[in-house]
């Protein structure tokens, strides 16, 4: 009986140790949602999934390092992080847009404080916007129309290099060739009336297809897209 008591004593101590020690030497997990969209005139800027990113910097904690925040393909983002003061900054040439210069001193850096859930729409100025997109199915062909509006004019203006219709069997559609299974380039003579069609590959086994139009801007790496549309047979 004496030995049994002895064992219980130690087991209790160990269990207590296991349940309390993690709370003693670990940080609390991040608990604040920060989400939002990158927009132009209230319209989200459509980009390639995970391609365009911005950085969050939190000053005051020793060695600084950025928190990289990638954008979803519909221009939205969300991260879970800690309370505090943050700076939001896009890296140079990050996307198919220019950032808004807020003032001379601050440049395009956005300051904000997180102390609870927060949504923020970040305004940017894209070179072009894809508008009035219409998709239709005829047989095995996807037909698409759109107009492309130039936003940035003057010295900073850029040209449209190509306009491409991308098709995929998942909701991720982009110029990344893992994210499209067919694509076709459009004639770009008249940017106000783009028409393009692409064939769905024969090996497509699903009864739907996702489509999206991307615009490659000369000298800019990331394309700007129309919203993704699901077409069912």
């Amino acid at each position: 009986m004496k030995t049994l008591k002895f064992k219980y004593y130690w087991i209790c101590l160990c269990v207590c140790g296991i349940f309390t020690s993690c709370g003693v030497d670990n940080f609390d997990e991040p608990d604040t949602f920060f989400s939002g969209r990158v927009v132009y005139e209230g319209e989200p800027v459509q980009v390639r999934h995970g391609e365009v990113r911005f950085q969050l910097w939190q000053p005051g904690y020793g060695d600084p390092g950025p928190i990289e925040v990638p954008l979803n393909q519909d221009g939205s983002f969300s991260i879970k992080t800690f309370h505090g003061d943050y700076k939001l900054v896009f890296v140079n040439n990050a996307g198919p847009f220019q950032t808004e210069i807020i003032n001379e001193e601050q440049r395009d850096t956005i300051f904000f404080t997180l102390n609870g859930e927060k949504t923020l729409d970040v305004d940017v100025k894209p070179y072009f916007m894809v508008e009035n997109t219409e998709f239709s199915l005829s047989g095995n062909t996807v037909n698409a129309r759109c107009s492309i509006r130039q936003i940035i004019t003057g010295e900073e203006a850029r040209e449209v290099e190509r306009v491409t219709l991308y098709l995929n069997n998942t909701a991720f559609v982009s110029d990344n060739d893992l994210e499209n299974y067919a694509n076709a380039n459009a004639d770009t003579a008249d940017l106000n009336a783009i028409e393009v069609s692409a064939e769905i590959p024969d090996d497509n086994t699903r009864n739907y297809v996702f489509a999206r139009i991307g615009v490659k801007i000369s000298g800019v790496e990331s394309l700007i897209f129309s919203p993704v549309e699901k077409l069912e047979f």
């Binding site: 060695d63 390092g65 890296v91 140079n92 040439n93 060739d177 893992l178």
Partner: protein, 626 residues
């Protein structure tokens, strides 16, 4: 009583133990103090040997992947397929920032300069060699990072709590290139003009480095303006366009000093009558090889040897149960010209689209630039006296194919059991077989035992060779408008490859120059920097897949898409009674492990500077697009 005894013993030890100064003040046996180290030529040389050993190569025979990237080859290795299944590189890839190495070199230079025990002659050479290594590493850094802080003295911290005086800003990219060029100019006279000094710096090595650095700087100045996004306002990345001609002139002059024999009797290696054999021998013949200028050397039965042959030997009959990792791609193989100097795809189909049947398996590679078979082991060729066994299956008359999923498998064909796939494959997805249809020949060591783990290989890695110097001269001359000079240098290289029709000055174009470097200097760690300095990497690797019809087009164009490696597989025709029975046809394939296409982003042109470097030194500006 015991207590007193112990106290007495302790007291005796305490008082008596420590009065022997000689016992405590001893010379360390593991550390050589500075005053001794730099006073004996042997010890100084051994310190220098360590600095040589730490030389940074982009590609080296010690790491087969480092030589064969960017879709020049498929990697037949289970752990490496990932490279063909993602489509971009990290911004931090290829980063280098080893100021510890720079400091050690600076300390060495200081130590030798202050030394009183060394002969003046030895001192001069040691210092020149260390300066060569230091310039080499600054060259390595500027190629990957752009302009970097230029530190030429060992820095000491004074423990004052304020380290700002140790923080240096980045120099401009041009300034680092200028440093490398000027440093080479100064040290070349201090180095021996000895052709046989290959693994230690010589005058030839300094000139070759100067030539390459000036050429790189020239092309960055000239082509940098095509993508202004890849530059910084302070010039840390990017070189003004008006400096291009000056750099090209310097490159041409440096090359011509080597070509004219000023640094010793360097020449193209032309010892063997078989031109393909001759080309392969450049890389393993170490006996008075006039082509090699500066090498990383190895020695059997020491710690300094490597396993390149083990990793890449043909799998069939290999000395270990491995090999065959680098499989040169069809993209690369088909870019070798015909002996008449024309670009042509490998003729696997006739005009009507039907497969051409060849009598012998290797016939499709006949009449090509000898460098093809000097660089690549094609079906039908041999290594170490054994013919490789590469064929993908049996082509049946009804159009079906009988193949196997293990090396050299036999199956029942029309009632008899026959071998239906080669012992070297190709079997899609099976590592170590020739999944593109080819193995690499460059750097393979023909000596017995080179493929054994217990023996390994002592084939050297050539960092600078005469062939490259000729092509550097040709490029610089072309950019300076001297096409006749360029044609002459190009033809010397091409003649050795067996090409019968020489180029005329009118034939010399940028694409010609780029192509010649692609085939001559393949797998030598230079292709990547060529793509970067010409600012075409983002066009060559644009993230779009290569279609089967696209792969055979635009051969010889510098901006031909190279986002995926392709292969071409031989099949044996089975059709008794038909004229094609037992002949071979070739089919173009993309290995199924290749699922994505590479995309080189603007932010990949110069590697991202690590965050801890930026944190420690606020004067450092970031590279563009990061």
């Amino acid at each position: 009583m015991k207590k007193y005894i112990y106290t007495l013993i302790a007291l005796t030890l305490w008082l008596g133990g420590c009065n022997d100064d000689d016992f405590l003040n001893r010379e360390p046996t593991q550390i050589i103090p500075t005053d001794k180290a730099y006073n004996s030529p042997e010890l100084t040389l051994s310190i220098l040997a360590d600095l040589y050993n730490r030389y940074y190569d982009f590609g080296t025979v010690e790491s087969w992947q480092s030589l064969s990237g960017f879709n020049m080859a498929f990697w037949s290795d289970n752990g490496s397929y990932g490279a063909f299944q993602n489509n971009r590189w990290g911004y931090g890839d290829w980063r280098t920032w080893d100021y510890g190495y720079i400091r050690d070199i600076n300390i060495f230079i200081q130590g030798v300069t202050d030394s009183e025990g060394l002969e003046e002659e030895d001192k001069t050479r040691f210092i020149a060699e260390a300066r060569f290594l230091r310039a080499s590493y600054y060259f390595t850094m500027v190629k990957r990072m752009g302009g970097v802080p230029l530190i030429l003295e060992p820095m000491e911290y004074d423990y004052s709590g304020d380290p700002t005086y140790l923080q240096h800003p980045r120099e401009t990219e041009a300034a680092i290139y200028d440093f490398v060029i000027a440093e080479a100019e100064e040290i070349m006279e201090m180095l021996p003009d000895d052709v046989n000094s290959k693994s230690r710096a010589s005058m030839g090595a300094a000139l070759a480095m100067q030539c390459r650095a000036a050429l790189y700087a020239g092309s960055i100045a000239k082509y940098g303006s095509t993508i202004p996004q890849v530059s910084l306002p302070g010039g840390e990345v990017g070189i003004p366009a008006d400096r291009a001609n000056g750099y090209y002139t310097a490159a041409l002059q440096a090359a011509q000093r080597i070509i004219d024999g000023e640094a010793g009797a360097y020449a193209l290696y032309q010892k063997k009558p078989d031109l393909a054999d001759n080309f392969a021998s450049i890389f393993y013949d170490k006996a008075s090889n006039p082509e090699a200028i500066f090498v990383e050397d190895y020695k059997l039965q020491t710690g300094k040897r490597h396993g390149f042959t083990i990793s890449n030997q043909p799998r069939f009959g290999a000395e270990e149960e491995e090999g065959g990792r680098i499989n040169p791609s069809l993209n690369f193989v088909q870019s070798f010209e015909t002996l008449e100097g024309e670009f042509a795809p490998l003729p696997n189909k006739d005009a009507s689209g039907a497969y051409i049947a060849y009598d012998n398996i290797g016939d499709i590679f006949e009449n090509r630039d000898a460098r093809l078979q000097g660089t690549v082991i094609v079906p039908g060729s041999s290594f170490k006296g054994r013919e490789v066994d590469i064929f993908a299956g049996i082509q049946m008359p009804d159009g079906s194919v009988i193949s196997g999923d293990s090396r050299g498998q036999s199956k029942d064909v029309d009632g008899t059991s026959v071998q239906v796939v080669g012992f070297d494959g190709p079997i899609d997805g099976l590592e170590h077989v020739a999944q593109s249809g080819f193995y690499i020949r460059k750097y393979q060591d023909p000596k017995d035992g080179s493929g054994q783990r217990g023996v390994m290989s002592d084939v050297w890695f050539i960092r600078y060779r005469f062939g490259e110097v000729l092509l550097n001269a040709a490029e610089a001359a072309f950019e300076l408008g001297q096409s006749d000079v360029a044609a002459d240098y190009m033809n010397r290289v091409r003649e050795r490859a067996g090409i019968t029709v020489p180029l005329t000055p009118g034939d010399i174009t940028f694409d010609r120059i780029a192509h010649e470097r692609y085939v001559e200097l393949a797998f030598e760690g230079l292709y990547f920097f060529d793509l970067k300095r010409w600012r075409i990497a983002h066009l060559v690797m644009d993230g779009s897949e290569i279609t089967e019809s696209g792969i055979t087009q635009n051969i010889g164009s510098a901006t031909k898409r190279q986002t995926q490696p392709y292969g071409i597989w031989p099949y044996k025709v089975y059709n008794p009674g038909n004229a094609d029975h037992e002949k071979y046809i070739y089919k173009i394939v993309r290995p199924s492990r290749v699922t994505a296409s590479d995309r080189f982003r603007f932010g990949n042109y110069y590697s991202e500077i690590a965050q801890d470097v930026l944190n420690n030194n606020p004067k450092i500006v970031k590279n563009p697009n990061h």
